[in-house]
Amino acid sequence: MATTHISTQTDLHADSHGHEHEHHEGNFWTNYIFSQDHKVIAKQFLLTGMFWAVIGGILSVIFRLQLGFPNMNLEWLKPVLGGWITPEGKLDPEFYLALVTMHGTIMVFFVLTAGLSGTFSNFLIPLQIGARDMASGFMNMLSYWFFFLSSVVMFISLFISTGPAAGGWVIYPPLSALPQAIQGSGLGMTLWLVSMALFIVSTLLGGINYITTIINMRTRGMSFSRLPLTVWAFFFTAIIGLLSFPVLFAAALLLIFDRSFGTSFYLSDIYIGGEALPNTGGSAILFQHLFWFLGHPEVYIVLLPGLGITSEIIATNSRKPIFGYKAMVGSMLFIAILSFVVWAHHMFVTGMNPFLGTIFMLLTLIIAVPSAVKIFNYVTTLWKGNIRFTPAMLFSIGLVSLFLTGGITGIFLGNAAIDIQLHDTYFVVAHFHLVMGAASFFGMLAGVYHWFPKMFGRMMDDKLGYIHFWLTFIGVNLVFFPMHYIGIAGFPRRYYAFTNFETFSGFSDLNALVSVAAIVTMAAQFIFVFNFFYSMFRGRLAPANPWRSTTLEWTTPRFPKHGNWPGEIPAVYRWPYDYSKPGAKEDYIPQTVPFSETPESNLPHENDLIKLEGNGNAPIVVEGKH
């Protein structure tokens, strides 16, 4: 009974696609703007993400100027920043807070969540599992347009007279709840909340689609054990997002009620200018619990796609099967589960019960295990491979190195006792920028370099890619490595200046170095932007399978239309990591090649898989056996 049911529905599904095929020749608006094609939507996410990355980067350069060169005259920024530059030519301290807040919000949500997941989940899931499109093209389009709306609202908030939200990207109340507290908690905060509400809707629409597509729309033969690790990573990312973003929504809605309706969920016993506010009975800690229940999984929402992309690129460019495929999937699953039970390690110093702190510390430190499994697997995949150093490969190896550097400091920070010293210092800033910021960003860049030929049918320039990589890699380390020292010395983050007292000026030289490195790194990204747009139009036309890769996306035409494959969707017969298989003619065997065509390289258990079509019980027919 169940079987008939399923087959009816697949037939219906095939029909609907045949239907789509007839008229995908739309006009400009349906092809490029309100497109339901997952590839176009992916590019829309990518371009919007790049736009936000440039904005977020420029904001960070502005506050780095303040931190590195506190005596600098910033009069020349007046045409852009206007009243936010004081008459003395200094950055307005409240605007400094707004810059930090917006840099965090933009980078975490708009670049590394929407820009990374939105781009690569959309682009790669249907292409790599062998589907014509997402489960619901319309929902997918809505997902982008909610993100676009959210972007517009956030962008507008940058230009209002009271400035954008300034309470930190974590928007802790009471600071964020009371407009009297700082200017940024006025209209800027309201717009922040509206924008994030739209953003959450976008993420949920996207996430529901990704999970549904991966589970239900795989091509023939694409069992879970044959999914590329990229798809596994997007799968876990989407599940984490689906479970955690509603909780952020819950937290944000209560904050909206506190701000605009007069409830007291997070507010209690507050005095402003000697006057008591009417709010009683709320708890600011409650917000932190709700926020970090999203906030910590969010770290993995940002990082897992990068890890998935890296797995794929490292295996392809080492010409070796990924080491420990099942361990990679298992460690991602383990990380995904653990990500939900460690949130209070962000709250060790909130006066939390020390016994509870111990439990969260233990759970946090356990994350080191699956993370280490992943790092060892990357290294062992590289070991004795025929490594090709493409720009994508360099960025992937860079990711592994940053993941390691930043991950090790996580062991310090996860420790409830050491956190008392390190909490909210530059050590934390260094830690999460390396492990989640830079590492995920490297994953995103690696993905763009690797899949650019599939996205635009042309190759990016390798030489510019190498220059971009080395400047970025050295730059990122020069920015974040010195911050560890500044942090251990006890310098808190989010402070406007350290130069008011001679005693605290000890690290101004190091801060200047960090700022210079940040500016150089930022400038290097424009090499990438140039390469990206130049290659899009003028790049060398890409061959069908430029990286000699095994996965399904390279079986599509150079410029795939809506529907991806012109004929039937190819079936899959093997896992995606048959690189340098002993006995094989080439150093890679695409997933579409049946075992029956490669008797020279089959392993015994693979020979067992060869069965006569339509008769599962027939004797195995292998060359040489009969």
Binding site: H13, T212, I215, R220, G221, L242, A250, G281, H289, S596
Partner: protein, 195 residues
Amino acid sequence: MEIKELKIVEEAKKPLSMNPKKFALWLFMVSVMMLFGAWTSAYLVKRADAGWAEIVLPERFLINTIIIVASSISLIIAYRAAKKDNLSRVKTGLILTFVLGVAFVAGQILGYGDLIRLNEYFTGGAVSHSFIYVLTGVHGLHMISGIIFLGLVLADAFRYRIHSKNMLRLEMCSTYWHFLGGLWLYLFVFLKLYP
């Protein structure tokens, strides 16, 4: 060419899959569960703090609970009738469910009047009172979305588009409706157990 025709290839098995739309609905319900899970957890955490004002639920909420359970029963009747192609009973069942759904939402709104008479306000009062409004209000919004969905299915029923060979929309609507009913039962019992 001849060799290609004779090629023997192992079978590429069709992977297990279910209807993507139904699957997406289940995922949506998971996210709604997380939303309410977050609030009820926050409620429990807040309740453990000092100075918690215990809540009193209006009697009307019990009547509303009975109404929403009845609406689920009438929807089950409509669903079974559709499977047997008893189209007039499908319509009656759906109309009854629709009316009961609207009655539930109306009852909840009247319930707010009762809450105010009990001196339990959304703003300006105790946090526990605000929580009642948030939980019931957001559930009510979801009920309205369910009623709209049910209305669309009802319109389909009048165009004879709901029958044993075309059950998808009714199935999805039932799943969502029973979920919303179950969600209300959870909230009601939760608020009764932890006043």
